[in-house]
Symmetry: C2
Subunit: 278 residues, 2 copies
């Protein structure tokens, strides 16, 4: 497995792979890999000749009072995990290499202002800009993203379509802990008590699905039940919304395929989760 730090070296590696007719799969991550990331890696390894995992804690997608400095990092552990999964290369650039007095930003308007974008107004611009860079550096045939960050996936999909990136996006299902908590590097921040309480998110989403399954189509009623569920814990809701899964606009009546998405603070830790109604 190669560890590639330079942008030029990564572009050369990709060019060589392509010249040999090998397909490239990219799994963009911020490291501190968990089973969620590894499910993406396994999918890439299965579908592509050459799998590249990028590990870069991207500063531009963090707001001024967010957790950039404390974001968990463990490159040695990540390296072992990637090796075990038969990853071909880790792209592990330094910040100075990725950002040299940058002035260029890729923005997906409207979608980036909804849901998580309301409390994190510059977040998605940071994401789309770095993902555009990674696409140009790694030149993947397929790129893999987890659907826990559902809005991120919708926004990147729109960017790929609008800017005609010649690649296929693959969205992979949320991977959960045994008790239902969606895997996230940020779970690491939770105190034991917060960790216990955080299962409420998945329970609340299941409750929403159960209500829809029993015929309830009123988003206000379902949302209310979800909020009541969460209110039983000492957490702070950022948002709970029921939206169209493409436009991310609130729906008047819940239909199959609509999305319920939420963000909730446990202490200082902001967790997100979501579910498509089925």
């Amino acid at each position: 497995m190669r560890i590639v730090k330079g942008v030029g070296e990564m572009q050369n590696f990709s060019r060589e792979q392509r010249a040999k007719g090998r397909t490239i799969g990219l799994v963009p991550t911020m490291g501190f890999l968990h089973e969620g990331h590894l499910s993406l890696v396994r999918e890439a390894v299965k579908q592509c000749d050459c799998t590249v995992v990028s590990i870069f804690v991207n500063p531009t997608q963090f707001g001024p009072n967010e957790d950039l400095d404390s974001y968990p990092r463990d490159f040695e552990r990540d390296k072992k995990l990637c090796e075990k999964e038969k990853v071909d290369a880790i792209f592990f650039p330094q910040e100075q290499e990725m950002y040299k007095k940058p002035l260029t930003f890729v923005e997906v308007k409207e979608l980036s202002r909804l849901l998580c974008g309301k409390s994190r107004p510059t977040h998605f611009q940071g994401v789309t800009t770095v993902v555009a860079k990674l696409f140009n550096i790694v030149r993947p045939h397929r790129a893999y993203f987890g659907l826990k960050d559902f809005q991120q996936f919708v926004i990147i999909k729109k960017m790929v379509d609008d800017l005609n990136f010649d690649l296929e996006l693959v969205g992979c299902p949320i991977v959960r802990e045994r008790d239902g908590l969606a895997m996230s590097s940020r779970n690491h921040y939770l105190s034991p008590e917060e960790r216990k309480q955080a299962v409420v998110l998945n329970r609340a989403l299941s409750k929403a699905q159960k209500m829809f399954g029993s015929g309830e189509k009123n988003p206000r009623k379902v949302r209310k039940a979800v909020l009541d569920c969460i209110a039983a814990t000492s957490s702070r809701v950022d948002y709970v919304e029921i939206v169209d899964s493409e436009s991310l606009q609130p729906v008047q009546e819940i239909k199959k395929g609509n999305l319920i998405a939420l963000a909730v603070f446990f202490g200082k830790t902001r967790l997100i989760d979501n579910r498509l109604f089925e």
Copy 2:
């Protein structure tokens, strides 16, 4: 010579060329080709195995009161000219194919607000977005731009660097009519009287160079002389500025390699021109 209208077809064509190990040169144009464009085409044909000319009058780079509707078009003539120059393919997409409810924009901040950006605030965002799309669709090894649009070249260069596009930008010198007027599709709009007056732009720039050549380094004095020169015609100055050729910021003292750039209206027609001090 192939005429390619579909984005997917163009991407396939490029993929095939690359698979054969052939280098691709892209000359992005808005059509109505003149000797300036053809000089880019000749450079591409000389340097690359496969030359693609894109012809697309990009609506998003025109402001609301600009000349989108009247912009001159003559595809049959363009086709003949390209054929004669041994172009391999013309990419000639339709607007509906290029823009499907787009929400994604590529913006190069700061640089896009200076010079032409002051009177055309959304222009460069339209340019960088469509050029990013063309780069992803045609996937050139080299892309050719004329230096009449000097600011455009600086901005696209910054975009290529910031977003890590894996290609080489080639800037080609301004091609002028016999009397010195820089070639432009917009010269077509000029009345015979305006056409005569428009030579003042190149004369004024030559005057600036002559002053610098004689030791004058004060940008205010040189600018004043240029404005005086232009004032002898019935035109309206949009701007005349002497700037650093990378940052596009005004200089306090003129040095070799600095840029003098201007935009001037003759009637309703806005012409631009520039010169590097040598």
